[in-house]
Amino acid sequence: MNNEKNGFTAKDLITIGIFSVLLLLAMMLTGGPFSAVPTLTFYFPIGAAVLAGPIFMLFIAKVPKQGALIIVGAVLCILGTVTGMHWGLNFGFLISATLAGLIAGIGKFKSNVLNLIAYIVYCIGPMGTYFVFILNKESWVSFMLKKGTEQEYIDKMSEVATGSTIAIMIVGTIVVATLSGLLGLRLMRKQFVKAGIAA
């Protein structure tokens, strides 16, 4: 194997590919509708966190190796870049997935509490683009829509993006991610471990 130093077998890599698809679909299914509406776009991370919990939990149970989540992050980052997403989003994925991997790794991917925290951190990733927005509105809008965007829209975004919106976004994401993660842990305990899938 080329990757002996990481200890990834072909099976791990294939599992990573399949679960990346599921994580991506889960994110688009519940997050997509939010991102299409300008005034709701800030709640995208909340929507994105709804479904993925059980998928995430099963994934780290199946590939309990350091670096597996980094690959997921890198794959999502590549796909986001080639489909023209904002770089804040793409690198948000990469950074948060890396951190999530490190956190879950502390407990050898077996500790429920640490896995839950890892999932919450993973869900914070898509917020990267909004952090960029808050830091530099002009550059964000000019990246997303380019010159000639109506001043009206920038005003509207700025109007919506007050402190409380950001607070709702962060707190909401953490709450939803916790619930989804708990659901994941419950499914793991109740079903997957018994079925011998997550051995």
Partner: protein, 233 residues
């Protein structure tokens, strides 16, 4: 009519991503879509490409001629939404073309010529392969749910959340998990773990046509960057 090296397609995708990130003008997007459409027809994906092009044309005509006559909040929302659609459309279109015209074996062979690490290539290749499968599985799962009288409507969900969650997650995750095992077994049997340099029966080379197509897109990008003055459509 023509076939391209997967590496050329990757380069075209990167060019399009640069294009999307730097040139927002509707009129250039239109040029880019036309180029992509011609490429799609040349690559023998005429029908699907034409459909995508027609959808784009309809949206573009709407943005240029009908949208300015709408006022108020609806105008802003639609404008922004279309702005995002126009931004992602060229990339998504060329990505769809790339995926539908490239065999996984070809893709892997081309990527190994570029010496991209396998830890990235294998997950990406699996993703291409697995997206359609998820769609298919989803159909089966929905049928099975209907058969058991489980519906996805919010009302039913509120009454028995546990049943819906189990009926939804378990089959998806179990099939995914089994698919991973099956694919891994078949890939290992075919020697994916062979540490030597990957060889391929397929003749993958950068040919004249690859260079020509790449140059056409590159020139379009450079000219577009030079002429771009800003503006929306």
């Amino acid at each position: 009519m023509i076939t391209l090296d997967p590496r050329t397609k990757v380069l075209l995708l990167i060019l399009t991503a640069i294009f999307s990130a730097s040139i927002p003008n509707g009129i250039y997007t239109l040029v880019w879509i036309i180029l992509t459409t011609i490429l799609g027809i040349m690559l023998k994906r005429a029908l699907k490409t034409a459909r995508a092009a027609i959808i784009f044309a309809a949206l573009w005509l709407f943005a240029s001629f009908i949208l300015p006559n709408i006022g108020g909040v609806l105008h802003t929302s639609l404008l922004v939404w279309l702005g995002l659609v126009f931004k992602c459309y060229p990339c998504c279109m060329i990505a769809a073309l790339f995926i539908s015209t490239t065999q996984i074996g070809e893709f892997m062979a081309a990527m190994s010529k570029w010496r991209v690490p396998r830890s990235v290539v294998i997950p990406l290749a699996i993703m291409f392969r697995y997206f359609p499968t998820v769609k298919e599985d989803w159909g089966h799962i929905k049928d099975a749910m209907t058969l058991r009288g489980i519906s996805l409507s919010p009302g039913y969900f509120l009454k028995n959340p546990g049943v819906v969650v189990d009926a939804l997650y378990l089959p998806i995750l179990v099939t995914a998990s089994n698919a991973a095992d099956d694919l891994a077994a078949s890939a290992v049997t075919r020697g994916i773990e062979n540490p030597r340099i990957r060889t391929s029966r397929l003749d993958i080379r950068i040919r004249l046509i690859d260079i020509i197509v790449f140059l056409i897109f590159a020139v379009a990008l450079i000219v577009g960057m030079g002429l771009s003055t800003g503006g929306y459509v």
